[in-house]
Each structure stands twice: as C-alpha cells, then as structure tokens.
C-alpha cells in the first residue's frame, strides 16, 4: 500500500488541478454567455442575407456569372476555424478530422486558418497552408471577416482557386456543437424553393442594378457575412466545449479526491494500529 505521505502529496496535486479546472470552467461560462449573445444578435442578419441571395439566384435562373459557374481550377481553398487554445475537449480535433477524413483530396487543398491549434495540426499532417489569421478569432470583428473575404475573392477572381469551403463548428445550443464543412463559392442553390416563396410572399422581386451586376456586389457581402457568422459561432462553440470539458475534469478530480481520502484514512488507521501493536508488544516484553 502506498505510504501516507505519497497519498497526501497526490491528493493535494489533484486538488490544485481541480481548482484550476474549476476556475477555467467559470471563466468559459461567462465567455460563453457573451459569445452566445453575440451569435444570437447577428443571426437575423445572416438568415436574411441567405434568403436574399437565394431568391436572387432563383430569379436570375441559369445565370452566367463567375460566382455561380464552376471553375476549371482544381485548387480548393478551405477556411478553417479552430481555437487558439486547447483544453476544450474535442473542439479543435473535430474540425481537423473533418478535413483530414473528408473527401476533399489533400493535394488540391490550400488552408486559410483561423486558430493556432488547427494550424499546428494541419501543418503536422503536411497540408498546404496559406496565411495565418489566428489573431482574428480572439475577438471577431466584422472588419476582420471583410479582410479575409476580400483576400479569398481576389484569389478566386484571379483563378488561383476554384472553390471556397468553410470548416467551422456550428453552435446548435450550449451542449451541442457540430463541426461542419460548407461550400461558399461557387454559390450553390440550396433547397431554396420554399424559402423564396415565404420570403417575398410570391411577389416578383426587381433588382437595381440588374441581377448579374447586383450579384457582383452582393456575393462578396454574402461571403463576408457567412465568414463572420462562422467566426462568432465557432467562438461560442469553443467556449461551450471548454466549459463542458472543464466541468468533466472538475467532476473527475472530485471523484479521485474522494477515493484518495478513503485510501489515506485507511493507511492512517493502519499505521496507528501498527504503532499500537508495537507499543503493546514492547511493554509486554518488558514485564
């Protein structure tokens, strides 16, 4: 059996780890509240943006436009959003797995990363990396998304990349976060038929300027807003994931402490009994 001292040392080390995880849990709970609020505030904007773009595409029909046409270039850009820090359960590794185990061929990909954790992992796997945008994810601002989307759209227009994907963690609710990979460009018409009908109440929409010109101006805004939305949803998911992970860690620490306390008391009792036996044996021998 382990000695009393060993058990005591072990217990106090677990106790301080537990204190840290508990503090981290509290911090990420507060952060989660804030980022959840931010995600909710902006949801209306993205829903509307999506609806409008879809209704434009539906109206424009089979329009001949670079943002809609498939390009010949095989290069695919992936915007990958992970966290800058670990200790968030499967948050970072799930996004990494999404890409490494996905059906996009590795040699065609070029990754635009947000978040050090994802970047490091992809670097280890030997993926081609573009610039690093990790600082953006600390406190996402709309202007950051604008910068990133203009870089990508330039590359897209110059024919350096043929498709743009976005890998991030969707924030469903506090406990469910789901890593998703979505295609940004060329724009695909989703299951828009019913969306369009509810949107304008079946009123034919006019565009000024005409559809193709309007697409030229709206698609960049659409891409920017989706990137921004993904950024804030990812931040909310990260905090949610960390909160859960730290909650589990704290519970585990408490369980271990309980077990160790029991062991410690047993060892203590054992040693007292032994001492007593020794004393009694000693005094008997003297008589």
């Amino acid at each position: 059996m382990a000695s009393m001292r060993d058990i005591k040392r072990r217990k106090s080390s677990i106790q301080s780890t537990g204190q840290i995880t508990k503090a981290m849990k509290l911090v990420s709970t507060v952060k989660l509240q804030r980022s959840k609020q931010a995600a909710q505030n902006s949801k209306g904007y993205f829903d509307y943006m999506y609806k409008t773009v879809q209704s434009m595409l539906a109206k424009a029909g089979n329009i001949d436009h670079p943002y809609v046409n498939t390009s010949e270039c095989k290069k695919k850009a992936v915007i990958m959003i992970t966290g800058n820090r670990g200790l968030a359960g499967g948050y970072n590794s799930n996004v990494v797995k999404l890409i490494t185990r996905g059906n996009l061929p590795k040699e065609d990909l070029i990754l635009y990363t947000l978040g050090h954790k994802g970047r490091e992992a992809m670097h280890r796997y030997g993926y081609e990396l573009a610039e690093d945008y990790s600082t953006m994810i600390d406190a996402p601002e709309y202007i950051d998304a604008m910068r990133l989307s203009s870089v990508l759209l330039n590359a897209y227009r110059n024919g350096e990349i043929g498709e743009i994907y976005l890998a991030y963690t969707r924030f469903k609710n506090t406990v469910v976060h789901e890593p998703v990979l979505m295609k940004l460009l060329p724009v695909e018409k989703g299951e828009e038929t019913d969306v369009v009908e509810t949107n304008a109440g079946n009123v034919p929409m006019n565009f000024e300027p005409a559809e193709d010109e309007a697409l030229d101006m709206i698609i960049p805004k659409y891409v920017t807003s989706i990137i921004y939305g993904a950024m804030i949803e990812s931040v909310a998911s990260e905090n949610g994931a960390r909160m859960q992970a730290m909650d589990n860690a704290t519970t585990n620490a408490e369980e271990m402490i309980e077990k160790l306390t029991l062991q410690y008391n047993r060892a203590r009792q054992g040693s007292i009994t032994q001492e007593l036996t020794e004393i009694i044996a000693g005094s008997q021998a003297q008589n």
């Binding site: 931010a38 505030n41 902006s42 209306g44 904007y45 993205f46 509307y48 943006m49 409008t52 434009m56 709309y142 604008m146 304008a200 109440g201 009123v203 034919p204 929409m205 006019n206 565009f207 000024e208 300027p209 309007a214 101006m217 709206i218 805004k221 920017t224 807003s225 921004y228 939305g229």
Partner: protein, 136 residues
Amino acid sequence: MAEDNKKFAVKIITPDRTFYEGEATMVEFNTTEGEIGVYKNHIPLTVIVKPGVLTITEDDGVKKAAIHSGFVEILGDSVTFLAEVIEWPNEIDEQRAMAAKERAERLIREKDPKTDIARAETALMRAMARINVIKA
C-alpha cells in the same frame, strides 16, 4: 386616407445588432443608381447602398444615420436594410471623419499611380456621409 395607412415597417439589421426597428412614412438614402426616396406601396425592389445619409421620416420627427454599405430589400409594406456599416450621428467621431476626408481628397488630388482611386473615392464618400449626418 387614414394616417395609419401611410406607414410601413422599417428594419435595419447589421451583423452585430438590430440597428433600428420601427414604422416610418418615408425613407431616403443613396444607392448605386442614385438617390431614392421610398413611400408605402413601392414596387418590390432590391438595391445596393452607396455611402450617404439615411433619413427616416417618422410620425413625430426625422431620424438620420450615416450608412456606408449594404443592400436594401423594399417591399410594399416593409423595407429591410442589411447594413454592413451604419452609424447614428452620436456614434461618429467628427474629427476623425474630417481627417479621413482630407486624406481621401489629398489622395485623389495627387493622382499617384500607386493609389487605388476607387478606394479613395469610397473613403471620401464615407467621410462626407459622416460629416453630413452630423451637420444635418
């Protein structure tokens, strides 16, 4: 016609918040095709915003804001702005706007081949929109 019937719903949403939600009798703003004023029962129309002053005429007064980019969906009984950047007058830093205006004007005047004239012009329009809103 009753007073009520002239009003329509106006909603302005930005990526961070709902900027404005209310009822108005008229909205005026700047689009890529020129200035536009919208009353109730406008034909359905989607337009792209150019930097300028947005004027919302309500029953009990007029509200102004500087809108810089975004687009607008106009329906008969509602107008929805998807604004990337929009500010109330009290959110604008006048000195910064003035400085930006001078900088943009200088860039355009100097005609340096390295400067992006289109960008400088947009910057100038943004600065002018901010200044006009404060002055108005």
